[in-house]
Amino acid sequence: MDLSFAGREIFRPQVKQCRLWMTAAVLALCALWPATMIAQSGDLQGGVEIIHECDTTWHFGYKGINLYSRPMHRIDMAYPSVDARGNAIRLSGSIVIPGNVYDGSSPADGVLLYNRYTQMMPECCPTRGFAEGEFVFMCNPLNPNWILVESDFYGFGITEEHISDQYYVYGDANGHASIDCLLAARQVMDERGIPQGKYLLNAGASSGGYDCLAAQRVRDMYHKDDIRFDKTLAAAAPFDVNRAYSSYISEKDNSKQDIIFALVVLNAFNRQDNLGFTPQQMFTEPLASKFYDWFNTGRYSIDQLRDSLKAIGVKTFTEAMQPEFLDYSSDEYKKLKAAIESHNLQNGWTPDPDQSYYYLHYAHDMAVPSASGRTVLDFLTSNGGYKKSLVPELTNLTTCMFVMSDSHTISGIQFMLHLAATLTAYPMLYYDGELNTHYYDLVKVGTPMGIIRLLEEKGIDVAQAFNSLTGGDGSGGMDFSSLIATLTTYDEMLQEYGTSLGEVLLIADDSGLSMLDIMEVINYLNSKTAEQAAGGAAASRAMRQKANEQLVGDYFYNNLLDWLKENNVDLNEMQIGL
């Protein structure tokens, strides 16, 4: 996708003026806020200041063609927060209000706390008017009437001179920045009398997905009383950085692996935790010599860095890293791993079970290993009692790990389209303060047992159908182990698709079809006496498809896809610097 104009705001002179102002503000604040001062997240002492405000227009552009425009009103603010060590700092962030909401012609549905994905250049942050991902979910025919709140994060906006020290997936540092940005935005909107709607969502993809989960952690630990997310939506998050690091090592010679994020992450931990590794100690030449300029000066975009790595012949993790950092037994590896572990988001976090999640991760994501995403599922499920579900909104957690794609970027775009659908569907699903009961009726059918019960109500003997399909003689279906043994014969076929039975079962489990579900169905079917003809399985699939097709969110999602199709947009050709 040509993003030459997508999401750029139109008042550049004001931005320049704003930068000067921000620089002055930062200098002044450096004097006002000694580094030793310890503050708590959420302490808005020092006040919130508006540093820039403008009407602007966001565009959904594709290959130089403007497909959709939407007037927006943007308020940039400086607000107090804390850095990773608890020192008081001031950060900047934006409130972006759709024009029709700002002028009062449409009510706001809610506030979306959005966490930006990887930023490498100073101009790629919200207060610079950059909205490369945001336009996908805010600027489309669904016209979500949501107010966007997003922090620049440390190292961008008014702290851009510290760009080399950005907190990249570094514990909950950006989580504090995000939560404080939300509190500051609330204060601004309250003072101005800007209605904020009924709902509050928290979202982000890639490193933004990590930061959105970090924000959820900060909320759960420090702001339970004043912030309640109606849903947290994350995608392709390097939630467990060490697990992701291990995945990079295990695939160290795989040239399909997108190693750019691994380099940014390891660099961030080395710098932030003062581990003392020089670029020459960590990276191979010529990357080591170029590393500071490429990765710490903010002069290059992610895409440019990718191209540059290729240009110097670095295609694999092995080619980028010194051997010690690929060796699980080395002191260097252990030192780095310990630093990463000390900032693990899971440390000390007991998720609030009243919060709700949506998580998406492609099975073969080559930039952020899906193993890291699987940790998200395991962690939330085991700690918060979240129940996986095939059906969005029925319970807390639904994943799209079953997508057999390796594209990190496409997963991000898909997530944003889903986010657009969620923003549109949510006010209807929860307008009455609870999940729409009619919707509930619909989706409860979309579980394996729900489908079986429905089929039986229609007079279809599913057990007989099951027996027939599995070659049974009417005395009962297969036991579980026999079934698995039979299924393994499909391994060869699945290999053509780059997967295996084991992986299919694993991602089925991730996606909500848990082993418990499978066992429940099999046990149920085997307890029945066969009576009638086959055909149940096909009917079952049809029922599930019907139930899912009618889901409110899917309706909007498909609507968006139709719109993109009508405009000849190929998702595979959409390029965003995720």
């Binding site: 549905d109 025919p141 549109t424 006010p427 307008y431 009455d432 729409n436 009961t437 009619h438 919707y439």
Partner: protein
Amino acid sequence: MKRILLSLSFLISHFSFSPAGAQTSFSVMTLNVDGLPGKFLFFDINPDGPLSAGSERISQYIAAKDCDIVSMQECFNYRWEIWSRLFAGYEHDEWTGGIDSETHQLDYFHLQNERFPCDGLNSAWKKNVTSTAYERVAHKQNFGKFSHEFDDIITKGFRRHEFTLADGTEIVVYNTHFDASSERDEQLGNDVKDREARHAQWQQLMQHVLTHLDSRPVILTGDFNSYYTRDDIITAFIQPIEATGRATVGDVWIEQYRSGVYPQLGDEMDADEVLDKILYVNPVEGLAVTPVSVTLDVAGYQYDNKPMGDHYPLIATFAVTRGKTTAIGETANSQSSNSKWSNSKSFDLQGRRVDNPATGLYIQNGHKFIAK
């Protein structure tokens, strides 16, 4: 909105008497005409409703009943059919629209912001009756836009008419449709917000009645979606009015069938109670009305051995008296002495009906008695 009547046991009941000092009489019908369309967008919202042909039959029924005043609810998409047999003998008030996406442009992506302007209410009155003043008021509180019976997708409320009858008698008649709750939500205990909405609506109605109360009697008709055992009608509506000392309140069904004894909130529901009600407020100083007959016309409201709609018509005839009214208990007592059911209905001190009273203290015909 679409309700299944809980009981068919409240069959035709009639009683009549001639209170001393009666000057004139008039009849009032309240009927939910079940006028939702069969489909809206891709939803089947009233597949078994009367639709066009059934609405014409309902019109025929209403005309045949020859009531002086008719209060209709859910008069949405078939108002021409409903009016078809009434034009000759009746006037009617405004129709505020139907449930359709042709006359009301919808923003499908933001349905949460949509509300149809219609209230579904419609009143008709005989041509020898005059409506001298009319007011339409929206409920301040509703619940359920995409669930809980979708009350908030339309502009529910009440209408108030000041009528002058043929002999010059002046009365006030309200027509209303309250927030509904689905049977499933009730069974699951998921109807709290519906109850809160109805409670607020009873209070809003009470305040409106008191604000405009003068020497004219007030008749309140409609589909109140309320049961005494489920909704605190007494606290929200009846007691506040009576506490002012300016008026008394009665319910024709309570007077007729329950000997003036109200069911208690939280008790098991009286299977004879229906959601449609006719209440009356008699100012202490001024004219008063007394119900002389009450009919829930189950038998007459049939076509092809099926009910014409999902509610039955409730019809009451009132006598107008002048001067001070009696207290409710006395009124009930005087009426119930003429009721064919009055001598057989007993209630315990909690207001629950007792068919075969054991030894103890009970209420019968509005009086306590000891069963031995």
